[in-house]
């Protein structure tokens, strides 16, 4: 065995290492792919865009993986790269919807019926449409908030202060309240 190892050239060793790195990486991404799907879901309006963005995020994670030193949680790193890719992605710009269009059906919402009660399904759709009215940064913050991340984690991912996270969440809350209140009042 030791003679065999001695005969391995540095190039062959690098290939073996790369295969091992790729295997480890795909394992991690497979386990935590939900993070990427959620980011794609919040930043894209149709399946084609979601597929493209998913691929782009996976590519960016792969490129960034060798420099990941484990000083933060793997999920935090994935959120950071995924959000960064989605925000800075060079895709065709889509105009933000008008505030009044909350009940319109201009989106291809990635929610399939028959799984939830009618009422909950409506709530999901309204929530999705309401989030569509937020800016790219606000979407990132609200997503992290709804994913139960602490203010500290949100601050770490976004690069703003903890206090600022609080201020922004309050502002988003106000915006969503303004958009959703009439709808919620109608439902209840």
């Amino acid at each position: 065995m030791s003679t065999y190892l001695k005969n391995i050239t540095p190039k062959a060793l690098a290939i073996v290492n790369n295969i091992e790195l790729e295997r480890k990486f795909t394992e991690i991404v497979t386990v935590h792919q939900g993070i990427i799907h959620k980011v794609c879901g919040i930043y894209c309006k149709n399946d084609e865009c979601r597929k493209d963005l998913f691929q782009e995020i996976v590519m960016q994670l792969w490129r960034s993986y060798p420099s990941f030193r484990g000083d933060s949680k793997i999920t935090t790193w994935m959120y950071r790269v995924a959000l960064n890719t989605a925000i800075s992605s060079f895709r065709k710009q889509v105009k933000k919807p008008q505030e009044e269009s909350i009940t319109g059906s201009i989106y291809q919402i990635p929610v399939v019926s028959n799984r939830y009660k009618q009422e909950q399904e409506e709530e999901i759709q309204f929530m999705y449409k309401a989030i569509e009215h937020l800016s790219k940064i606000e979407k990132a913050i609200i997503m992290l908030y709804l994913e139960e991340h602490s203010y500290e984690e949100i601050a770490k991912i976004t690069g703003i202060t903890k206090t600022n996270v609080g201020v922004k969440i309050n502002r988003i809350k106000g915006k969503l309240q303004k958009i959703l209140k009439p709808v919620y009042d109608e439902i209840r």
């Binding site: 799907h37 590519m59 490129r63 709804l146």
Partner: protein, 211 residues
């Protein structure tokens, strides 16, 4: 409405989206073989094409140095070659700088800031090159065709006139200024059309994070 009320809807939404879109490990392996389509990759691709184009043009003018006997064309080729080499050096320098840039910095704010700086740097480099070289080339080409015209050569020989009269110099300066103004605005318009909206959108994000 409380923001926390949305958490149950978000949970249902994310569960559903993840269940519907989950892919196998083999599919993720396949995705790694694809090409990155991010903004930095796009700029690098554009730079690569520009470097190749300027390099090919340089070789053409380098060849002309050995073929051409006309003094004007010799000066023209030398001048253009110097411009080309300066352009290649600056583009290669910028390409290397961009290759070292990791768009995934410790947080969103620094990443977006880095991307905006890179993008603006590229737009500026492209604009400077266009505004420096193109008017010079245009005016030089015009000069060559104007003075090397057979009739003009005859006239000069007959009248024993100097190569540049005051009117010629005025005309060339005017032509240079017009070319400079037209190319300045057309290059600015072109770059804005390509990257303007994206830069503005990223700046908006950055301003929001800096608030």
């Amino acid at each position: 409405m409380k923001l926390d009320e949305l958490k149950s809807s978000w949970e249902a939404f994310s569960t559903q989206i993840v269940e519907d879109a989950t892919v196998e490990q083999t599919h993720i392996s396949k995705l790694l073989k694809g090409r990155a389509d991010n903004i930095i990759a796009k700029i690098k691709k554009s730079l690569y094409i520009e470097i190749a184009f300027v390099a090919v043009t340089s070789f053409i003018f380098l060849g002309m140095l050995f073929k051409v006997n006309d003094p004007f064309m010799l000066v023209y080729s030398y001048a253009f070659l110097i411009f080309c080499i300066a352009t290649i050096v600056s583009l290669v320098f910028y390409y290397r700088k961009l290759s070292l840039f990791d768009p995934h910095l410790p947080n969103l704010k620094s990443s977006i800031s880095g991307i905006v700086t890179s993008l603006q740097g590229y737009v500026r480099t492209y604009h400077i090159i266009n505004v420096t070289i193109a008017p010079f080339m245009l005016v030089s080409a015009f000069m060559y065709s104007f003075f090397n015209h057979p009739e003009a050569e005859e006239q000069q020989a007959e009248q024993q006139t100097t190569l540049f009269t005051n009117e010629h110099i005025f005309l060339l300066v005017l032509l240079y200024i017009v070319a400079l103004v037209v190319l300045y605005f057309s290059s600015k318009f072109y770059m804005h059309k390509l990257y303007g909206v994206h830069i503005a959108s990223l700046k908006e994000c950055l301003a929001e994070l800096n608030e």
